[in-house]
């Protein structure tokens, strides 16, 4: 029985790599791509592989490899997957090519919204948006008679009631794993309080009133979270949700689908999505908007670029979206927003809208500085003012080293 299954699975996977059934043409030019490895990329690269002659590399080290691999001549990959954070080094080094003529040739299916323009030139084609927004256990909030929170103050008030009722282990879950995740929480909260990250001369401006408020709000979250929050990343928070251990979290939209996965989740149908809470009344939701999309390398021949873009369009077609509707908040034609997408859409269309994550060299440096210095504040080793000062100092050191500051 097992052998049969094995043989069958093997045969199916073999078929999958050789059949071109779902692709409208056969790709003749050998192409490679380097992207991140989450569900949406799997769906897109699988769709591209159907055209043949294509190798996808879904790699968690892509951040390390991509800038160097695209700078090689010829570039090691023709197609790259980026987000608004990771496109920066490619733009800066000029290793990706403008796509205007290719979009004119093959991009009939694209909506204007998908075209990422830098100085008027199309540099990337976005395929999905992602944002952190509020997920909550609608059953628990209904039982306790709590309205859907719209601000962080309301979240804390709701958390108090949930904590008192004792229905879950921890009222709030948070992606505060030290490093990138923790810094991202600050990057969400700080503009929510109206803060600006940099002064005009590129020096950091986080040591401000808004910075203190953002830190205070983050510390307040700790009262309601798992004490091990400094090791919890999105997967961990997602699992806590699935196991019914937490009631609310500001979590990535790309994680929503997992809540209704019957194989993993014990809370199917009980988790609802809402806009990210606001940090202060009348402000924007305390979160940032992200997009993921495709770029084409500069250091390749025009024929290769032509074939690569055509293949990418095949990967971003309506058929792919219909096969993986819940994997992301797609920007591609044919996407049917389900109930799980409500939160992300409410966040993105809020007025005032949350900012897009800034794709600049300075932001990368500040993000690292935040990720390294904030843990000391949350563990109680250092107070808020000293922490913000330390963040600015760490930023200044690395910015001088990177040549951003003199």
């Amino acid at each position: 029985m097992y052998l049969k299954k094995l043989a069958l699975a093997g045969a199916v996977s073999l078929l999958g790599t050789t059949a071109f059934a779902a692709c409208s043409y056969e790709n003749e030019v050998p192409l490679k791509s380097l992207t991140a490895g989450f569900e949406a990329w799997k769906a897109v690269t699988d769709a591209m592989a159907e055209c043949g002659n294509f190798q996808a590399e879904l790699d968690q080290e892509f951040r390390t490899k991509q800038p160097a691999a695209f700078e090689a001549n010829p570039s090691l990959y023709q197609i790259g997957g980026v987000s608004n954070g990771t496109i920066t080094p490619l733009l800066n080094a000029g290793t990706i090519r403008p796509l205007d003529d290719l979009v004119a040739k093959y991009g009939q299916n694209l909506s204007p919204n998908q075209l990422i323009r830098v100085d008027g030139k199309i540099m990337a084609v976005a395929m999905m948006v992602n944002t952190q927004h509020l997920m909550y256990r609608s059953d628990i909030l209904a039982d306790l008679g709590i309205d859907t929170p719209t601000t962080w103050d309301e979240v804390f008030a709701a958390a108090d009631k949930i904590k008192e009722a004792g229905v879950v282990d921890h009222a709030i879950g948070a992606t505060m794993k030290s490093g990138w995740n923790l810094a991202q929480e600050f990057v969400n909260m700080y503009p929510g309080f109206g803060g600006a990250f940099f002064n005009d001369d590129n020096t950091a401006a986080v040591n401000s009133d808004a910075g203190m408020k953002a830190l205070a709000a983050m510390k307040k979250t700790l009262d309601y979270t798992d004490p091990e929050v400094l090791v919890s990343d999105s997967t961990y928070v997602q699992q806590q949700f699935q196991q019914g251990k937490i009631a609310m979290a500001n979590l990535w939209a790309s994680r929503a689908g997992a809540m209704d996965d019957e194989n993993e989740s014990q809370v199917v149908g009980k988790v609802s999505m809402a806009a990210a809470p606001m940090a202060m009344d009348g402000g924007a939701p305390a979160t940032t908007l992200w997009w993921d999309g495709i770029v084409i390398a500069a250091n390749i021949t025009d024929e290769e670029a032509d074939a690569a873009f055509r293949l990418a369009m095949e990967g971003l077609d309506t058929e792919m979206v219909q096969g993986a509707n819940e994997a992301a908040i797609w920007l591609v034609n044919g996407y049917q927003p389900g109930p799980l997408a409500e939160g992300a859409i409410a966040t993105a269309t809020a007025n005032p809208a949350p900012p897009a994550y800034p794709s600049t060299t300075q932001m990368g440096l500040l993000h690292t500085a935040l990720g390294n210095e904030l843990p000391a504040f949350l563990t109680g080793d250092r107070d808020a003012a000293a922490t913000l000062a330390a963040v600015e100092e760490a930023y200044t050191t690395s910015a001088k080293e990177a040549g951003v500051l003199q």
């Binding site: 029985m1 097992y2 052998l3 299954k5 094995l6 699975a9 093997g10 996977s13 991140a36 490895g37 989450f38 569900e39 190798q55 996808a56 590399e57 879904l58 790699d59 968690q60 080290e61 390390t64 490899k65 160097a68 691999a69 700078e71 090689a72 001549n73 090691l76 999105s234 997967t235 997602q238 699992q239 699935q242 196991q243 990535w252 790309s254 994680r255 997992a258 996965d261 194989n263 993993e264 989740s265 014990q266």
Partner: protein, 384 residues
């Protein structure tokens, strides 16, 4: 040894036995536990109660369960299979392998054994048990949740066998080249008393102590741009080193050299130098003496050193993760990939299944070479 004076009081025997039992539990428990997790549905695998993880109620309810008969017969089979591996297998290998190729014989023998085991245990037994269960009544109803779906997903759907092949290529390369290069150098160092030899050894020791991340990050730009850099020398034939298994083999061999030459040097020092001197008196050159006199007696030390090289090549994460692309990725970075990217709980249990799978060859290896490790070390590879 069995004289009165060395006979031990009962209390000491009990204490020593208890300590050993405690240690064995400690040593095996984490590994056994991930093995248990790997055969449960995601909800069971990460359940809070240990009992739920072991019995797997969700897994059982979804139709994947073992009955009392399955467990009893399965364990019996397992017991005899393991016993056979320890007793009959070594004899058969010695009997059937041509003289001088004992190592090869072991490799073939253990591979055949592994395949046979998988075929019988996962292929034949389930259908036999299925037939038994249907006529056994209450004893035949499932009581323990168990599913092999994650293993099927990992090996068939995710094509983990490719990573397995890559691992095998890299590991085999690392072991062979390490030993060839290292044996020569170890012998040279053992027979030379010069200060240069000493400082070489000290330098190797300092190299051994280097943090790898420094070295590895230094390689990346060179490896990626090697085609461009080497073009003036090799023309259009110049390769891109990034993603090439043989380039990774070279790096791992170099990183492993310091340990290898230290091990082998101390081993050669314990082979009396009169042996090769006698050969030299008979008119052999150093190389001939090495080949005729030393090579036949060096195997215990070489096998032990080879095992350490194997572990290094097989378990390496830092080098392989950074320098190989997806097509040539080995198993360890592939598994880390399951965890590090945005994952689902199912991905994680699949990663656990993959993790258990990659320990299986290590199991076999230790089973087979256990005696050689101890005898090789006893023969002097660690006297220095």
């Amino acid at each position: 040894m069995a004289s009165k004076a060395t006979a031990q009081p009962l209390s000491l025997k009990i204490a020593s036995g208890a300590f050993l039992a405690f240690w064995c539990v400690l040593a095996a428990f984490p590994i056994a536990w991930i093995a248990v997790m790997s055969v449960k549905s995601p909800r069971d695998a990460f359940a809070a109660s240990a009992w739920d993880v072991i019995t797997g109620p969700v897994t059982r309810d979804s139709g994947n369960g073992l009955s009392f008969i399955d467990i009893a017969l399965g364990l019996t089979f397992l017991f005899f299979a393991v016993r056979w591996a320890f007793t009959r297998l070594p004899r058969m290998v010695e009997q059937f392998s041509p003289p001088g190729f004992i190592v090869l014989g072991w490799l073939v023998g253990s591979a055949v054994y592994g395949i046979l085991f998988v075929l019988i245990f996962f292929g034949v037994l389930p259908s036999v048990f299925g037939a038994l269960n249907s006529i056994a009544g209450p004893l035949g109803t499932p009581i323990l949740g168990l599913t092999t779906e994650h293993y099927v997903a990992v090996w068939a759907e995710n094509q983990f066998y490719r990573n397995f092949m890559n691992s095998m290529i890299v590991t085999a390369g690392v072991v062979t080249i390490s030993l060839t290069v290292g044996t020569l150098a170890g012998y040279g160092l053992a027979r030379s008393g010069s200060n240069l030899a000493f400082w070489l050894l000290i330098l190797a020791l300092v190299f051994r102590a280097l943090p790898h991340s420094v070295l590895v990050a230094g390689y990346l730009p060179w490896f990626i741009n090697s085609a461009e850099i080497l073009r003036p020398i090799f023309g259009d034939l110049s390769p891109t080193l990034y993603g090439q298994p043989w380039a990774v083999i070279a790096v791992l061999v170099s990183i492993n050299q310091p340990f290898t030459i230290w091990m082998l040097r101390s081993f050669f020092q314990n082979i009396p130098s009169e042996l090769d001197e006698a050969a030299r008196v008979d008119g052999c050159s150093h190389f001939q003496a090495f080949r005729r006199v030393i090579m036949p007696v060096m195997w215990p030390g070489v096998i032990t050193t080879g095992l350490f090289s194997f572990l290094l090549g097989y378990n390496d994460f830092l080098v392989t993760a950074l320098l190989l692309d997806a097509q040539n990725q080995t198993m360890v970075p592939a598994i880390a990939g399951y965890f590090n990217r945005e994952t689902t709980t199912t991905d994680q249990v699949e990663a656990v299944a993959a993790a258990v799978s990659i320990t299986a060859p290590l199991f076999l290896l230790v089973m087979v070479f256990q005696r050689q490790i101890v005898s090789g070390l006893t023969a002097g590879a660690v006297k220095g």
